[in-house]
């Protein structure tokens, strides 16, 4: 039996927090929907807006080279170890095909770019991971390039800055991948012993073996707004525990609240923050006055 409509208790969704900018529905050719707010955006609009959604400021993934260019001083980047190439040491099914496809699509030799550069005039060793290359998973080459970058930082006595994003250890290289967690962590230990600054910038998504090794061992951990950061992925947690995940679970804001990261910084302001941090860490120990 139907109840009269006027007896029905109405519950309203609170919309007060949502921005009132108009939602566009131009689903024309080349346009796509923002994964965060579903607004339709064109590639041109996205580029014009520095890879953010014009409506909700969602940070779209950017390539490793875009990261390098946006963070480093112009023409200062000198790439290292671009000759390191992955092969299929375990003869894992379909791995070569996946590598070939990733190389073709990204025009990168592997999921990370490392090198020496300047940020705000300060010499640094910098690395950036690229999520388009097999979800920037860490196999032998990624681990090796990070270690060489850290060892380079120690050799030249420079700070080490890394922009992270990763799905975790690369399954196709089995235990060789998992051991990269230990290898990169051990290298961070040497960086610490040398008294050098290590800054890690966590971007969407950083999970698994990368979060559980070098990425979370930095002196200063910066995250982009709204990035998914954690150990186990949210889908796996939901499936294994059967629990409903709280809103904003494993996002940057959640991690800041739980004390796991230092600063949430919008993408365009990361460079200026790095310049400031590099300056603050110069000059040295025991409160010597900076000139």
């Amino acid at each position: 039996m139907f109840k009269p409509a006027f007896n029905k208790k109405k519950t309203y969704i609170d919309l007060s927090g949502i921005k009132k900018s108009p939602l566009t529905f131009d689903s024309g050719e080349g346009n796509f929907s923002c994964p965060a707010c579903s607004a339709w955006i064109s590639e041109a609009e996205k580029i014009q807006n520095n890879d953010f959604c014009p409506r909700c400021s969602h940070h779209f993934a950017v390539t490793a080279w875009e990261r390098i260019y946006s963070l480093c001083d112009e023409d200062s980047f000198d790439e290292w170890d671009d000759n390191l190439i992955s092969y299929n040491p375990l003869e894992f099914p379909d791995y070569e095909e996946k590598l070939d496809k990733a190389r073709e699509e990204t025009r990168l030799p592997e999921a990370i770019i490392t090198g020496r550069s300047k940020i705000g005039g300060v010499d640094v060793i910098v690395a950036a991971m690229d999520s388009r290359f097999m979800m920037a998973s860490m196999g032998s080459v990624v681990g090796e390039k990070i270690c060489r970058a850290i060892e380079g930082a120690i050799k030249y006595s420079l700070p080490f800055i890394i922009v992270c994003c990763s799905g975790g250890a690369r399954m196709q290289e089995g235990m060789l991948s998992l051991m990269q967690m230990g290898k990169t962590s051990a290298a961070v230990g040497r960086l610490n012993a040398a008294g050098l600054l290590f800054i890690s910038i966590l971007t969407h998504p950083t999970t698994g073996g990368v979060t559980a090794s070098f990425a979370s061992l930095a002196d200063i951990i910066i995250a982009e707004p709204g990035a998914l950061i954690g150990f186990t992925g949210p889908r796996v947690i939901e499936q294994t525990t059967g629990q409903k995940l709280p809103a904003g679970f494993q996002r940057s804001e959640f991690l800041l609240q739980h004390g796991m990261i230092d600063i949430i910084q919008p993408r365009l302001e990361i460079r200026s923050l790095l310049v400031q941090l590099l300056n603050l860490h110069q000059g040295g120990s025991h409160g010597e006055k900076q000139v």
Binding site: E144, M181, T211, F231
Partner: protein, 318 residues
């Protein structure tokens, strides 16, 4: 694909049942079947031995997860005297999935830390199936620092499906707890020996496996992710976990070939591990041998070797 280790043991179970029937019959009929019984017994053992010598990687995964296998507490009881268990991370709680403490092994006091699963379902639930939470890793961290302070060598025993996937674990920084432990072990100024006794599951197992020597039981496994996870992600079919188990090269023999594991300790075929005197002896003497070696080295040299050991893992072209 076999679902548990008893699936491929059903053949022997049938034969063993027949054998029991025969024994009962010989008693009830007052007949002497002893030579027949001996024959059947011998045949069963031969079959078993043959089978256990040719286990597939997936069967080894199933065996490595068996709850009848000894757990860290059993190894502590077997190897150590005067063991005292220590509790808590001094921050939040005490994790029953990791046990740790101090005892005497081969005349030396040692710190022992390891994953602990339960013996049956109820017990297993209380140990969270051997899946540590951040508190467990932070307890381990604290015990390692204590070991370093007193210059005491460390033994770790690895047997876990992985670190706990859960809301609370993430809130309290599971990744941060694991990475701190990796960093701590990679330059801990005392010798460390790890023994992989069962299931070595991903980062949650690796957190305690950064060591100067890694020993592994012959049916233990160590994998970047469980074969089920790999099958569901890469093949979108969890039923093909057996294929992934083979592809991941997770067996003790494969890891020895890769140079990740130093020594494989052979498991007995027919007996429970701790009831087999040969196995107990070889486990004990192997740990003793390696511990004597690493303890006699100057610590700076040992740390350099530990670093290089990790540093050299990885295969690529350049």
């Amino acid at each position: 694909m076999a679902r548990n280790k008893f699936d491929f043991e059903t053949t022997y179970k049938l034969l063993e049942n027949k054998l029991t029937e025969l024994k009962d019959l010989s008693v009830s009929l007052h007949c002497d079947f002893s030579s027949e019984i001996a024959n059947v017994e011998k045949r069963i053992n031969e079959l078993k031995e043959e089978r256990y010598k040719n286990l597939t990687p997936w069967e080894q995964v199933l065996i490595s997860r068996d709850l009848e296998r000894p757990m860290t507490r059993d190894y502590i009881e077997l190897l150590c005297t005067e063991f005292i268990e220590l509790h808590g991370d001094r921050l939040y709680g005490d994790d029953p999935a990791i046990v740790g403490g101090i005892g005497i092994f081969d005349g030396r006091s040692v710190t022992v830390i390891g994953h602990q699963k339960g013996k049956d379902t109820a017990d297993n639930i209380s140990h969270n199936f051997g899946m540590p939470r951040p508190e467990g890793y932070r307890k381990a961290y604290r015990l390692l620092q204590e070991a370093e302070k007193f210059g005491r060598p460390v033994l770790t025993f690895i047997n876990t499906p992985g670190a706990e996937p859960g809301i609370g674990a993430e809130e309290r920084g599971q990744a941060w707890a694991i990475s701190q432990l990796l960093l701590c072990l990679s330059n801990l100024k005392v010798p460390v020996i790890s023994v992989i006794t069962g299931e070595g599951g991903s980062g949650g197992a690796l957190a305690l496996t950064i060591a100067d020597r890694i020993l592994m039981l012959s049916n233990a496994v160590f994998s970047v992710a469980s074969p089920e996870t790999c099958a569901s992600i890469l093949l979108r079919d969890i039923k093909r976990a057996d294929e992934m188990a083979a592809a991941l090269k997770l067996s003790a023999a494969s890891l020895k070939d890769m140079g990740i594991v130093d020594e494989v300790i052979d498991e007995p075929v027919n007996e429970h591990l701790l009831d087999a005197p040969d196995f107990v002896l070889s486990l004990e003497s192997s740990i003793k041998k390696h511990l004597n070696e690493v303890c006699s080295q100057p610590i700076a040299e040992l740390l350099e070797q530990r670093y290089l050991r990790l540093r050299n893992i990885g295969k690529f072209w350049e």
